[in-house]
């Protein structure tokens, strides 16, 4: 698949706020591409650059090979779903959906046909005569989708389209968006700060932080192999340990020395050399917890700790375990056979273990990583 929507070194500042810093991204045709990052990281600004509402200070935007940087929004073949939907309050659902085609001067009979098709796509046939203030939030969302899609945009831009909906509705709309995408096959550029939404919908995710793109990858890549401490911390939970590469073992593994731990083995996803300062990161669900010392295995790291907290969360339990200066988050799924065991509780001394391949190393950039503390795993989901 070819590159379809391309941002080439796009920068944008508002006064002294640098909302986008030299962002380059390329979105392939037909995929759902998510921009994921905390609030204020520049996602909306990038989307507005794509829609044409914001002119980049520098850099270009290409759509299907054509430079669209200077084309005004009304002449771009992209459409936007606004966060507040921005439905026209003085028009009925039907007129809202028909707006784009009317403006384009399509003959009436064809408009009727197209609008009816769209109403069917979003299951709103029986609401066509209502005004926007007579329908629910989820229905407004559907009208906004239909109103955008009827113009057959090359790219559909969605700015946190689900943020205003409650949890149940959001989950349903995720499924619906996905099936609409399958049906129309249009490229979606989807902005969200919710990793769950991004993970469940996207083909590709770009993790953004403070106007930079930190990482682009599939949901699995982003989760399993974050390249920056920011990605690792922002997406899912992670434990971080400050360490240093004490020995490189062949091409694949390194030994790390971490204060308070026996020497730790970790897989190298990129070449490391002795003396590198790194963070070791291990996700809570990759760590096993047990009362007894696990069997020795040269690829499995083991450390002893004391349970400080136990939080039962239904599908799993989260333990907080003290190991020297670190407090590790560990989650364990509940399985039938474990019910016979004596449960691990507060104050127990336990063994933690994880496979060398389940940890990953991140370069330690000195000051920036202070911020990681803000993303340490929380007590519940």
């Amino acid at each position: 698949m070819e590159e379809f929507l391309v941002f080439d070194k796009v920068s944008k500042s508002f006064g002294d706020v640098q909302a986008l810093k030299n962002v380059s991204l390329s979105v392939k045709k037909g995929e759902i591409f998510s921009l994921l990052g905390p609030s204020g990281c520049g996602k909306t600004t990038l989307l507005r650059v794509a829609a044409g509402f914001e002119r980049p200070d520098s850099g270009r935007v290409y759509l299907d090979g054509e430079d669209i940087t200077d084309i005004p929004p009304n002449r771009r073949k992209v459409n936007t779903i606004f966060q507040n939907y921005a439905l026209f309050p003085h028009m009925s659902v039907w007129e809202n959906i028909a707006f784009g085609l009317k403006v384009a001067g399509m003959p009436g009979a064809r408009i009727t046909e197209e609008v009816n098709r769209m109403l069917a796509l979003v299951h709103m046939e029986d609401q066509a005569r209502k005004k926007p203030d007579q329908i629910s939030g989820g229905q407004k969302q559907r009208v906004a989708i239909a109103r955008a899609l009827i113009n057959k945009p090359r790219v559909l831009l969605l700015d946190e389209p689900l943020a205003a909906l409650d949890l149940k509705l959001r989950q349903r709309m995720i499924i619906e968006l996905d099936s609409i995408h399958d049906e129309v096959g249009i490229t979606f550029l989807f902005v969200t700060h919710d990793q769950g939404e991004a993970m469940s919908l996207s083909d590709q995710i770009a993790v953004m932080n403070e106007g930079n793109v930190e990482q682009v990858g599939t949901p699995v890549q982003i989760y399993e192999a974050p390249v920056s401490s920011f990605s690792a911390a922002f997406i899912g939970d992670a434990n971080f340990f400050e360490g240093m590469v004490s020995r490189v073992e062949g091409a694949d593994y390194s030994r790390l020395s971490i204060e308070g731990f026996p020497e730790v083995l970790c897989f190298n996803d990129q070449p490391r050399s002795q003396g590198d300062l790194v963070y070791l990161s291990v996700r809570p669900e990759k760590v096993r917890i047990s009362r007894d010392r696990p069997r020795d295995d040269e690829r499995v790291n083991m450390v002893e700790g004391a349970v400080e907290d136990v939080i039962y969360l239904g599908s799993h339990t989260r333990y907080w375990v003290r190991v020297d200066q670190y407090r590790l988050a560990v989650t364990r799924q509940h399985q039938r056979f474990q019910l016979d065991e004596k449960p691990v509780t507060w104050g127990d001394s336990v063994w933690l273990s994880w496979h060398a391949d389940d940890g990953f190393m991140l370069q330690r950039y000195e000051e920036k990583d202070e911020d990681l503390l803000a993303f340490l795993p929380e007590g519940e989901e």
Partner: protein, 256 residues
Amino acid sequence: MKRSRIPLIVAVICFVFLYLPIIVLVINSFNGSRFGSVWGGFSLKWYARLFSDREVWFSLRNTLIIAVSATALSVVLGTLAAFALHRYKTRLQVLHYTLIYTPLVVPDILMGMSLLLLFVSVAMPLGLFTILLAHVTFCISYVAMVVLARLQDFDWSLMMAASDLGAGPWTSFRRVLLPLIMPGIVSGGLLAFTLSLDDFVITFFVAGPGSATLPIQIYSMIRHGSPPMINALSTLLLVFTFTMVWTSQRLMRRTT
């Protein structure tokens, strides 16, 4: 515990004080007798006489010419002023806002006097045109304020949505912005029309010979004594003004 009746009594007295003269006036306009103190049977003769009075028709014509053109001008200018006030936030706009706001609070008599002095000093002959200018001066303010209120409620992301859907600036304006602020413009226009129609004080200062408007005509009829005809005329004006204000308020309410 028994509730005090005093508030009720005060309210009744107030209403009687305010509205009794108007009610008496309306009743008297159908009074066959020339004297308000005597009931001379139901009659429409004052209305008949009113309709055959040439001067009344002439002043009505003046009033309508002025009210219609003052409304048209002030709707256009007032709407533009409201747009400027809403869109641009410079320090000059504070002055602009003050200028627009002032006629709403300055006493009519001051307005009338200063306008008269202005027209005299530039040697502009007093007549329909000076009345028109004076009316536009205060009508603009009302229109601008009503439209501005409407614009402040307007969600500008709708304009972005329109442009996103392929509408150019003009189409977005005509199909989205205009319909949504139209109630404000119409109700500002109705207000301007009503105000122009029954303005007496300012008009009195800037009117010249042969340019009497209806309110001025009524005033001179009082002085030259035909009260029953004035009753009839006032009743008609009252009905008309009520209808206008009522319509304007309905329009304002319906779409907010």
